[in-house]
């Protein structure tokens, strides 16, 4: 017989939840509420003069050429990060899945980057690609590439995409590997007896069967690229050169903290919040049904 432990104390559940709730309130709800509030006001640079302007901040932001450029840049950046990190993770996972016996070491190595803090990872890449001391830079220069990502916006973007993707490969790898291993071996064997070579098996059997994983990761990676890459960008390029690597999240920071335009910055964060909500809603809605077979 099991003995059931019964807590008569009605307070205990709340006490146990309290730290989590407190953290959420202090670090999410309060700032979020503040952002929503600020986004409805125009404030002078010294914070003395407050003026309630309804949605004027949003209007200004959404019609600003600069902002719209940043939107496109962010989409490009997120697309590239998602593609690079998922693509390389999938390739690595397929390789690990084939040689699953020696895979423990391999797996551990691939999972490591995930444990590295974004800023530290960025510093790592900073040194690898540093125009004067980075060994990768030296290699590129030796190959005849005119390498200076402190000046060349395209190169800067490539570095930021690379650094941001690298961090996410581990996470994607683990999910892809789990997804691959959940495909019954006999299904693949049946396909090979049916006449499909390995490439064909991948595209007609493996890839479709991975689609729930892929879709889940797609959303996670887009969210990551949109919101979690601030540290990487900040440590590597600070959004520069010019605005070449300034994404939406970075613009919130530079407009708000550096240019002290709190109204516009708040409106931008509210827009970003809405994007997260939308992405999460899509994920919940579709992960449950659409992509299932």
């Amino acid at each position: 017989m099991h003995k059931r432990v019964i807590f008569n104390d009605k307070l205990l559940p709340y006490l146990l939840l309290a730290p989590q709730i407190a953290v959420t309130v202090v670090f999410f709800f309060l700032p979020a509420g503040q952002a929503v509030l600020y986004s409805l006001y125009i404030q002078d640079a010294f914070g003395h003069d407050w003026q309630f302007v309804w949605f004027e901040n949003f209007e200004v932001v959404l019609t600003d050429r600069d902002y719209l450029d940043t939107v496109w840049r962010t989409i490009l950046f997120s697309g590239a990060v998602t593609f690079v990190s998922m693509g390389s993770a999938l390739i690595l996972a397929v390789m690990a899945d084939k040689h699953i016996r020696g895979a423990t070491v391999y797996k551990t190595l691939i999972v490591w980057p995930y444990a590295v803090a974004p800023a530290v990872a960025a510093v790592l890449w900073y040194f690898i690609f540093h125009p004067s001391i980075g060994f990768a830079s030296k290699g590129l220069v030796a190959l005849g590439v005119n390498w200076d990502w402190k000046l060349d916006g395209g190169q800067a973007m490539a570095i930021v995409v690379l650094a941001a993707s690298w961090k996410q490969v581990s996470y994607n790898f683990l999910f892809f590997l789990a997804g691959l291993q959940s495909i019954p071996k006999s299904v693949l064997e049946a396909a090979s007896i049916d006449g499909a070579g390995s490439t064909r098996r991948f595209w007609t059997i493996v890839f479709p069967l991975l689609s729930p994983t892929t879709f889940f990761l797609l959303v996670v990676n887009v969210v990551y690229a949109f919101f979690d890459t601030f540290g990487t960008i900040h440590a590597l390029t600070q959004g520069g050169p010019g605005k070449a690597t300034e994404t939406l999240i970075y613009k919130v920071y530079s407009d708000g903290v550096q240019n002290l335009d709190l109204g516009s910055s708040s409106a931008q964060s509210v827009i970003l919040m809405l994007i997260v909500v939308a992405l999460t809603a899509i994920q919940f809605r579709y992960v449950e049904r659409k992509v299932h077979y």
């Binding site: 049946a190 007896i193 049916d194 006449g195 479709p208 069967l209 689609s211 077979y293």
Partner: protein
């Protein structure tokens, strides 16, 4: 359709030898069943024929060609897996069409082939369903459909019925038999179920511990099992196997003497294992076998009597007597067994002695 031949097939996984040299020619259109207990290497042998495993040595010959290095996809075989291995993201139609599509057949031909297979297996109404929307029996049919639609030279079956409930298994067994007489495709069928094996097989390969212990027609295997393992494995209830010694004109078991039809070539005094099937024992007050009854199982049509032969310390045997036999535990009964129903095996090697 094609002949298949296994020549001295051996297989090791690392240091572990799993198959120790199997030889067997299989005729065109023959239905061969590989029967053996779990873990004896049946699936491994079948997968070697399919090309999913590579043998450590020996040759697989299909249609006169050695196919050792030929990919599974180029062996022109079809396989039905124990768990069916249907493509979960494809409809029944797509599952069946996949192999044809991969081989680049024109669409109308694919449709015709799928329709034909669906008709044979009565799958027409299920063509647009996904595997998860099907019952076990239906999935099994789809797996069959996927195999026959390709019109391969050889069918390979790995325990295809073992996931079905008993009733469905009997039904599918009959259908399989009919299907084979219709298509006449060379088939290799793996099972651990001896009834399935006996009913389906043109020829049986009885495997034990990675060796083919007996290859022969089912009734021959039953009538003259090559080893004690085969003798004990085929037939239910199992053949009685008791230790004995050859004496002049027969065999002695703990003081009981039984006559033997073919006086063995081996010398008198040799240690043997004596085998006789439960159904070959008959009530006979003048018989040589005294049985101390320990357990009675009345099945209605038959009565299974378990007991000790000769006395309380004698070897345990089972008799299967027709009808209802009134006997109780602790009682004694006297039985006879005909000399031609006695099988003798070398006790050291387990091989049959004739």
């Amino acid at each position: 359709m094609a002949q298949v031949e296994l020549r001295a097939i051996k297989k090791s996984f690392g240091d572990v030898a799993v198959i120790h040299g199997v030889d067997c020619p299989i005729a065109d259109g023959e239905f061969v069943v590989i029967l053996g207990p779990s873990g004896c290497g049946k699936s491994t042998l079948l997968r070697i024929v399919a090309g999913l495993e590579t043998q450590s040595s020996g040759d697989v010959v299909i249609g006169g060609k050695v196919v050792n290095t030929v990919e599974p996809k180029d062996r022109n075989i079809a396989m039905v897996f124990q768990n069916y291995a249907l493509y979960p993201h494809m409809s029944v139609r797509e599952n069946m069409a996949y192999g044809l599509k991969v081989r680049g057949l024109p669409k109308p031909e694919i449709e015709a082939a799928v329709a034909r297979a669906a008709k044979i297996l009565e799958l027409e109404k299920l063509l647009d369903r996904r595997p998860r929307q099907l019952s076990g029996g239906q999935r099994q049919r789809v797996a069959m459909g996927r195999a026959i639609v390709r019109n391969p030279e050889v069918f390979l079956f790995d325990e295809p019925l073992s996931n079905l409930d008993a009733k469905l298994r009997v039904q599918m067994r009959i259908e399989l038999k009919q299907l084979h007489s219709q298509l006449k495709t060379t088939s290799i069928y793996v099972t651990h179920d001896q009834v399935e094996a006996m009913t389906l097989a043109d020829r049986l390969i009885v495997m034990n511990g990675g060796r083919a212990e007996h290859i022969g027609a089912p009734l021959d295997v039953y009538a003259r099992p090559a080893t004690t393992f085969v003798a004990g494995f085929i037939g239910a209830p199992a053949m009685n196997l008791v230790p004995g010694t050859l004496v002049a004109g027969g065999v002695a078991i703990d003081g009981t003497k039984l006559g033997v039809a073919h006086p063995a070539k081996t010398v008198t005094g040799a240690d043997v294992t004596v085998g006789f099937r439960p159904e070959t024992l008959h009530l006979d007050p003048a018989g040589p076998v005294a049985l101390l009854v320990t357990l009675v199982g009345a099945l209605g049509a038959d009565t299974l009597v378990h007991g000790r032969m000769g006395g309380p310390q004698g070897p345990t045997i089972t008799a299967r007597l027709p009808g209802v036999v009134k006997v109780r535990e602790g009682e004694r009964m006297v039985l006879r067994v005909a000399p031609e129903d006695i099988h003798l095996f070398d006790r050291a090697t387990g091989r049959r002695i004739d």
